[in-house]
């Protein structure tokens, strides 16, 4: 079965009014629909999705609302439970002053020096 690597490198884009990161949502949904053997590599500012202290608040715009902004680290954990493997680029975490202890336990770090070998292990590379 083909192995798919999903690279997510832009975070916090449209996720409030969608109450989901739309790339993560689709990856999860197609996994449920039979596209198995998927992994996610968080890079750039998307490494922050793995930070376990994210606490978005509901928003009101008069009577318009964003009632349930999603906790992205919990979405990642739900995907991990479905067999989607999670990785992050270690240098991008370090650059942002994030420590390993700040992250959910389900993600595994990859060094940039190993990136070429890492991506080569996959049949398809989809960047979101």
């Amino acid at each position: 079965m083909s192995k798919v690597l999903n690279i997510i490198d832009t975070a916090y884009r449209a996720h409030l009014e969608e109450q989901d990161d739309t790339s993560m949502w689709l990856i999860h949904a197609i996994n449920n629909a039979g596209v198995e053997n998927q992994s996610i590599l968080l890079t750039g500012n998307a490494v922050n999705y793995a930070v376990k202290t994210q606490k978005p608040k509901a928003l009101n715009f008069g009577s318009g609302k964003i009632p349930y902004p999603n906790k992205l680290h919990e979405d990642l954990q739900a995907m991990s439970k479905k067999g989607i493997k999670l990785f992050f680029l270690a240098g991008d975490v370090k650059d942002r002053g994030i420590s390993q202890g700040d992250l959910i336990g389900e993600v595994e770090g990859i060094d940039r020096s190993s990136l070429a070998d890492f991506v080569d292990d996959f049949d398809h590379i989809w960047r979101w």
């Binding site: 832009t10 884009r13 449209a14 969608e18 739309t22 790339s23 689709l26 949904a29 197609i30 449920n32 629909a33 039979g34 596209v35 398809h124 989809w126 960047r127 979101w128």
Partner: protein, 136 residues
Amino acid sequence: MSKTLNILLMDPPYESSNTATAFRIMESAINKGHNITVFAYEGATSLTLKHQKGHPNPVKDTTAAEEKHPLTKDFVTGLFGLAREKGTSFRWVNCGFCVDERGVGEWDEGPERGGPPQFAEMYKNADQTLIIPTSR
């Protein structure tokens, strides 16, 4: 040899150069005899909206007829026609939830409503899948 290219689009019309490049790829692929499946996700579901219309351009002092503002729904219709002419297949699926939240569910003949199961099916049946992420 004819193959099938599956493309996922995300950008809404009139916002990104990705749109024109994607349509250039589709047009070239159809001319080469390939089959195309498109999964329009998020803002790309507006590409097919039936109610798009042209307008005059007061900066250039043109009437609507003179300006001939391109409409992305016509690009899609055009490619359906080109595929028929070339004897290849062109399938356009709009992600249903994305359509609903944007209220863009009216389109000319051709596009169909679908969702992640259709993308999964198109991925499995294609020789190649190209994801064109939203520009930022």
